[in-house]
Structures are given as structure tokens and as C-alpha cells.
Symmetry: D2
Subunit: 295 residues, 4 copies
């Protein structure tokens, strides 16, 4: 394998594990994070710590970023100057879950500078990021993809190429996150129904997740609902609300009615109104139970 | 194993396979079906063919029934006289998906006659019934369950005991069928979203069912949506509509708001209005696409 | 005016006022009610009190009934024998709000006996019934309508003929009651929104009901919401829930998706779950406020 | 009456009529519009035509603006420099329907400059604007309101003071527009129901708008539905969609679930997907009929 000069911006719960895997794979990784502690930890594993986001771009062949949302990407990528610091023909592979609108803006900003751009959003929680088992959906022009795909190897259990338009990868990610929210709301309502008839959520979900719904999403979130284990959150209600907002925005631009997304919007809003922003979003089961006045 | 004298009423796509497995397990099975052809086929495998539903009850230790809905059960079980033909202490194990109200009526009708009653609804399609791989949720008084559980062995991949009140098994079945409908609608809306942004349903669903949603329900129905393979139906839209109606009725009696079930009610109604009653209910994907005016 | 021999079954809050107006108009009215007190009160105004529902039919030219729901009509009209007691060519004018299915059954039961049938459901609350200001929607065959229309004069502020099929009048009534429920939910959600932004419901509704929404439904129910005056109920939540159920059934038979009716079903269910069955159905405003966690 | 020196920005269908009424009331009005034709027309009635938006502010005591949306207000008021051209203690009365967020920004921008600010959104269509019969909801600090209220006289049939925080007036306007949309969707679904049962929308709506729903909103939009008179639009579907979006945004910031607004979002989106952006928003009746597959 070719050891490459890589930049990595964004070392939160997800990014720290991913940058670590790139180091373990033998690459020369220069890192930066808004709060420096995470960067220091990676320095111990051999990373170079840049003084700011811009400098991460100097001399690297591929820049990875794993940021939280549109605002973080706008600040650390578009406004920081890193795109101007990157060498010509360098490629930026962006792992964030973003709005379709911002992705279009990023594609243009990279093209204008002769830089490659690959959208590579990920499915998986922090433990899966650390163990290199993510599912990564990737899309971008062929030459950029060729540079990036080998770098996704140490990060992913599986890579899903989605064509040459980066927007396509983000749309798959957004639609997938919507399906996760729908799975949670489905278990929330079904559990409220069985509880009202004397069957505990745990007993019901055990049957479902042990048979027809034996899939990671249902086992993970169904387990949290069964145990009423909503804190600390694996994925916060406020982030779930943001993700459903991304789905609704993407739906709106293309005039796609999504009544399940509308229901999710309202039940998530109800959870936020109840002060549950920091609970795991499987706590939508509490909203369903409250509406039925089940203790 | 004890060979037992068993009755079996209802030899449709599901029941024929189940009765066949009881015969193969070495039991003496007496069968009856409204249209006689299916009974004749089982006679070749060693079944006795009763002349009417009532006579099935004569001299059997356990009566199985696998009927389509409330109306079929009312006719073949409550009105046929079979409960009066059954010997004292015989047990009826009812595999139908029924309303909670009817189950309560059945429990009382059996108790009044000193008969055991086990509700044992099943999850699985006809091919799974034939191969003895069903997931069966069973609930009833301890002594009735003791008689019935060995008979479920040749029918099921797994049996899930749900307590001593038969209603609990039906509630689990109803709630599970609701979750299947919700899974389909979720894939329908998500696919409409990705299609509107240029990503075919097939590409999107391949990622989902190959990772986070790698479960039988999603693989089966996601496959039908990806291939637009809605006919002949595995499970008709009209039956899906009936099942969601059972969930809504069960929710109504216990005052449980279920907004996802309400959305499903309306999208299924729209499919029926479009003349799609006989398509597989995964054709809800056509409704979502139509609403977005995607060809 | 011709004084006619009239029967009147059902002397609840609505029926008592209506029977009284027929007496005042100079007709010979024979009455019956399940609880006799209301009949006694009308006897003082000159009514004859029949000993049972059946006898009301003897010798009258027109039978009026003002009953609460399908079950009451089935008992007092179909099962009581009154249809067999009515003289040939007598007409029954039924003011109840009924399911479309029952109306079809009633039409057939009357035709079979050579009796006329007019569906004449009413809009208006008990005070309006007493003052003879109801809005009455009436439909039935021409000869039956000819007999009945003069009798509606003392009952109604306005009569709206709706053709020769009685079902049409009931459909208008059902759809109108749905619109009333939708008006209430609309004010409930709008008020929760303004309250959350510091504008009391009273101030907001005053503007609306004093301008764009200056109509009886909005003034009446908006006033109750503004004053939080939910008890004693003018029209109970449980009856509102029943009415929305009639709309949903009528929609289901003809495959008409009604998402607003689905929302109403769920918010009404939430109110019932909260123990608010006996509050006025304008208390849907409490449900909206609760969901937003507004005190 | 004191003749005042007034500026007026925004001379669309609504603003032209309003500016005209201020001229007729004897005030000295300086006008500006992005497309000059409307300004020329008012010059004939005695208006001064400013060369740009900024100059409108020079020397006036009160500036009125009647602009279409957030973007138009940002351009013509915040970015044009007019606020810096206004004399100290001048008051700006803004008639636009705006997001709560922008109103907060405007309040701060005016306070910082020592200018008064009154939010005075209006209810009524262009013909009502021309005849001076608008319903105007107004809120702002007491001294600013004192200057502005006399100027609203020639514009309004009625003025509704809503306190000293301009946001409150906009919230009332947003909530009122939501109620209009809900009224339309309610008539759309009710009409689809009656049509499916053989009662034309026209017959049904005639009863409703002639009795319980005898209010301007229902008579106007009900009339359009009854006649299927959707073009040319009185108020376009695309503008209705924008207004429901404002309600949803306002609801989101305060965590107020609004399921009726969610349904409206999806049915309006469906209309836009069908290419109906330029039809009157009463054409939501076509969406309801289409979903039921009624011709």
C-alpha cells in the first residue's frame, strides 16, 4: 500500500476513530480540531497537529473531514482557507451529513479551484468508527474516487459507490437517516400499543428483533426502548431532529411529500418541548406512551 | 413423540403447508376447508377429510385453525358447532390474525365449554409455512399451552410464549404487522426521495438492506420495491389494509394515538382507490412516487 | 296549515325542543322516549304519550325520530316494530346523524313496507332546536319530501333539499360535522402557536372571529377556547370522536383519503386517553397546548 | 387631520391600493417600487416618485412598506440604506408577512438607529386593500403606535392593536394564514368525501357557507372550489406554501407540534409537484380529489 499524505479535520467521537485508523494503516496524517484535546491524543499515535484548519491543507494529497453539520463545514472548510492551501488536484473527501444545497455549493467551490471532491457520508456509531466497520456511501468524479477508495478501506466494513455526483451520496445518507427515525417511531408506537394491552415493550420487541426485524437498527434502538435506557444518549434527540429536517428540506426542493417525515417532525418537536433534547432519540417511545397516557 | 389426534380447519396458502407438517410429524390429522380441493390434496398425504367443519371436532385432542380473518373464524368456529363437537378438555389453537374483540369472545366461548384455548398467530409467508420455519407467538393457560407447544415444533422455526392470556399473542401479532406496514411505507417514501434526486430505488435499497436494515422484512419487501415486482402479490394491498385496520381498532379501544398507522391508513386507501387492491402491498412505493409526480 | 297526526320518538336535548315546536304549530303529536320524564313534560304541552316505541306508529301520517346514534336507531326504529305499526304510505323523517351503511339499511326496510323515508339530519345545538332555527338537510323521494317539508318549517331556520336519495343528506351532515371538528383543531393549533409566542388565545381568536372567521362555528367554539370554558360540555369530546369516526367510515367505503380526519382521530383519542371524554370538544385546545408543553 | 410626509415602498397588488388611499387621505406620499410602472401610476394621483429605495427615507415622518416576503424586505429595507436616510424618531410601519426571525432582526436594526418600528401585517385581498377595508393587526412601542394608528385609518376596516412587541402582530398574521390554509384543506377533503357519495362539491359547500360557515374565508374559497375556478389565482399555491412554511418555522422555534400544518405542507407540496404552483390555493381540492381517484 502507498503511504499517503493526508489531512484530517474534525476529531469528534466519529472523526477521532477514523483518523486513528488512517494512522494505523500507515499514512502520514496531519490533524486539526476546534478543541485541541482530541488532536493531542492523536499526536501520541503519530499524527502531526496543524495550528489551524487552513494549514491542514498544505502539502497533503487527500483531505478528510468529519464535521457535525452544515455550519461546522462552512466554518472549517469554506471559510478557513483550507481549500486555497490544498495543492492542485488534491482531493477532499467529506464524511459529513449535509444538506443537498450545501453539497452543491461545495462541489462548485472545489471545481473552481481544480480540486477533487468526494462525498462519503458514513453509517455507524462511534464504536463502529473506531473499529473500522463503517458503511460508507461514496460519490464523486472517477479520478477523485480512484484516489480516495483505497483510503476508505481502513475505515469501512463496506464501501458503496454511488456514481459521479457527490449529491447522490448525501441523498442516500439523508434517506437512510430518515429510515432510522421511522424505525424508531414505528417501534415507539407499536410498543405503546402492546403496553396498553398488557404486553411489556421488552417482550414485544424481543420477538420482533429476534425474527422479522433482526437488523442492527432494530436491535440497537429496540434494545434501548426495551430497557428504557435513554441516557447517556448514543444519538441525541436534537441531532435526530436535525437529520429529519435535512430529509424534509431535500424532499421540499424536489416536491416529494413524505408524511412519515412530517409525523417524525412533530413527535421529535414534542420531545424537544418536553426538555428531552439530550436523551437518545429512541426516547420517542416516551412521547408515544405519554400521548396514550400510559405511565 | 406422542402421535396425537388433531383437527385442522382452514387449508389456504398458509394452512395447507402447516397441516402437511403435522402429518409429516406422524400425527393423525382430520382436515376441512371451505373449498374441498385443498383437503383432497392433503388426503393423499394421509389426512382424513371431514364432511363439514363441525365433524372435525369429533374425537380430536387438539384442533388447529388457520383462517383468514374475523368473519371466517366466526363462520367456521363459532357458528359451525365444532366447539360443541370437541371432547371436554380438548384444546383449540387458533393461528389467525384477529381483532382483540373477537379473541375475547372466543376465550369466553371456549371457557364456557371447558375447552382450552391457545392463540398462536404466525409470522411468515406461505413458503415459510410449508418449510416449517414460522415464527409463532403463543399465549394461553398453562395446561392448554403444555398440550399445544409440542405440536408447534414441526410448524415453527421459533415459538415465542407470551403468557397466559390469549389476547396478548394477538396484540403482538397485530403490532408486528403494523411494523411491517411501517417498514414498507418508510422504504416507499425514502425511495421516492432518492429517485427525485437521481438515485434509483434499487441502488438506495441495496445499501440499506445490505447494512443497517439487513433483516427479512426489509430484504423481502425492499427487493419487491427495487424490482417494481408487485404482481402476483405475496401479500395483497387489501390484506395489508385490513391488518392496519386491526392495529387501529386495537389502538382505539385503549386510546393509543398511532400517527404512523393513520398515515398508513390513508396511503393504503389511496392505493385501493387507484385500483391496486390486488398488488403486493410493497406497491405503496407507487403511491409515494405518484404523489411526487415521479414517472 | 293542515294539522297532521305526527309521531315523535327521541326526546333528548334536541328532540324535546323539536317536538315542542311541532305541538306549537298545531299538530297532534304522539311521543315516546326511553326515559319517560321528557315525555311527561311534553304531555303538559298537549302531546299524547305512547306506552312504547311501537305504538307511536299507530295511525300517524308522519313519524319523526331524533335519536343519538346508530345503536339507538336500530333499537327504537328497526327492532321496536314501529315500522310495522305505521299505516301504509306513512313517512318516517329521521333526524339522526347516522352511518351511511345504516341509512342504506333503513331505506330498504322502509321501501319493503311501502313506507316513505326522508333523511333530515340537523345542524344546531339544543337552544337552536328549541327556538326553531335549525339548519336541516333533507333528502328523499319526491312524494315523501312533499309531505315532510311543511313539517320542517316550524323546526328550521332553513331547509336544504339534497335530492331524492336519503344517503345524500347524511353524507352532507357527516362532512359538515367533520368540518366543525377541523375548525376546532385549526383554532387549537393556531392558539398553541400564538400562546407560545406570548399572544394569549383570547386576543388571537378575537381578531379571527371578528373578521375573516366571523361565522357561528368559529364564534361559538372560539369563544369556548378563549375562555377555557370546557365544562359543562355543549358537545362532548366522546360525541365528537364518534362523529369523526362516521366521517372516516364514509371515507373508507369510497376510498377517500382524509388526512385531516386522521389527525383529528389521533388528537381526539389523546383527549380521551387523558380522561377528557366529557369535556366540550373545543378542549382539543388543551391537547395542542399539552403537546407543546405550554402550561 | 394632520397631513403627514409619508414614504411608501412596495407598490404591488396590495401596496398600490394602500398608497393610493394614503394619497386620497391628503398625505404627501413619496413612493418607490422595484419595477417603476406602478410608481408612475401613483404619480398621476399626486405621489412623488423617489429614484431609489434609499431616497424614500429622506425627510419623511413615517415610512410604510408592503413587500412580498423576507427576501424583498431584506433587500429594500435592510440593504438599501433607507433606514440610514430616515430622520431620527421617524417610524417604519411594515405591512409584510414575515418570519419571526426577520422581525426580531428588524426590531433591533430600528432600535439601534433610534427609529420607531410597528409591525402591521394585513388580512385582505387586493380589492379590499384598494377599498380601504383591510383588517390590520398592529404592534409596536406606544409612541410609535401613536404616530402610526391615524395613518392606518384610511387603509383599514378595522385595526387590531396587539401590544408593544412587533413580533406579536406577525405571529397573529402567521397563525391566521395557517387557519385560512386549514379552512381550504378542510373544504377540500369534505368535498372529496361528498363527491365520492354523489353530492357535488357545489351543493355541499352551499349548505356550509350559507349556515355554520358563513364567513368571508369560507364563502370566498368555498366559492372557488364550488366553481372549480382556480385560474387566474387570487392567491397562488406557491404563496400559500410559503405561508404554511412561515407557520411551521414559527412553530419549530417554540417547539409547538402542529399536525394540521404538517398535512398542509404535504398536500401543498403535492400540488406543486403536479405543476399547480400558479393556481389559486383553493385548488388543494384537486389534490384531495386526485388522491381519491375521483375524476
Amino acid at each position: 500500500m502507498n503511504s499517503m499524505r493526508i489531512g484530517f479535520i474534525g476529531l469528534g467521537a466519529m472523526g477521532a476513530g477514523m483518523a486513528g485508523n488512517l494512522l494505523k494503516a500507515g499514512h502520514a496524517v496531519t490533524v486539526w480540531n476546534r478543541s485541541p484535546a482530541a488532536a493531542e491524543a492523536l499526536a501520541k499515535l503519530g499524527a502531526n497537529v496543524a495550528k489551524d484548519a487552513r494549514s491542514v491543507g498544505e502539502g497533503v494529497q487527500v483531505l478528510h473531514s468529519m464535521l457535525a453539520n452544515d455550519a461546522a463545514v462552512r466554518a472549517a472548510i469554506l471559510d478557513s482557507g483550507v481549500l486555497d492551501a490544498l495543492p492542485k488536484a488534491a482531493v477532499h473527501v467529506n464524511h459529513a451529513t449535509l444538506s443537498v444545497a450545501l453539497v452543491r455549493e461545495l462541489v462548485e467551490a472545489h471545481e473552481r479551484r481544480g480540486l477533487g471532491y468526494v462525498a462519503a457520508p458514513v453509517f455507524g456509531r462511534p464504536d463502529v468508527a473506531a473499529s473500522g466497520g463503517l458503511n460508507i456511501v461514496a460519490a464523486g468524479k472517477a479520478d477523485a474516487m480512484a484516489k480516495v477508495l483505497p483510503l476508505l478501506e481502513p475505515l469501512a466494513g463496506k464501501v458503496w459507490p454511488m456514481g459521479d455526483d457527490p449529491v447522490r451520496a448525501n441523498v442516500v445518507k439523508i434517506a437512510g437517516n430518515f429510515m432510522i427515525g421511522a424505525a424508531i417511531e414505528s417501534m415507539a408506537e407499536a410498543s405503546a400499543l402492546t403496553r396498553a394491552h398488557g404486553v411489556p415493550a421488552k417482550d414485544f420487541l424481543e420477538v420482533m428483533t429476534g425474527s422479522l426485524f433482526a437488523a442492527p437498527v432494530f436491535k440497537t434502538y429496540g434494545g434501548l426502548i426495551a430497557e428504557e435506557n435513554y441516557s447517556p444518549a448514543g444519538f441525541k434527540m436534537s441531532l435526530g431532529f436535525k437529520d429529519i429536517g435535512l430529509a424534509r428540506s431535500a424532499a421540499e426542493t424536489e416536491r416529494v411529500p413524505m408524511p412519515f417525515a412530517s409525523v417524525l417532525h412533530d413527535t421529535l418537536l414534542e420531545a424537544l418541548a418536553a426538555g428531552e433534547a439530550d436523551l437518545d432519540w429512541s426516547a420517542l417511545a416516551k412521547v408515544a406512551a405519554r400521548r396514550a397516557h400510559i405511565g
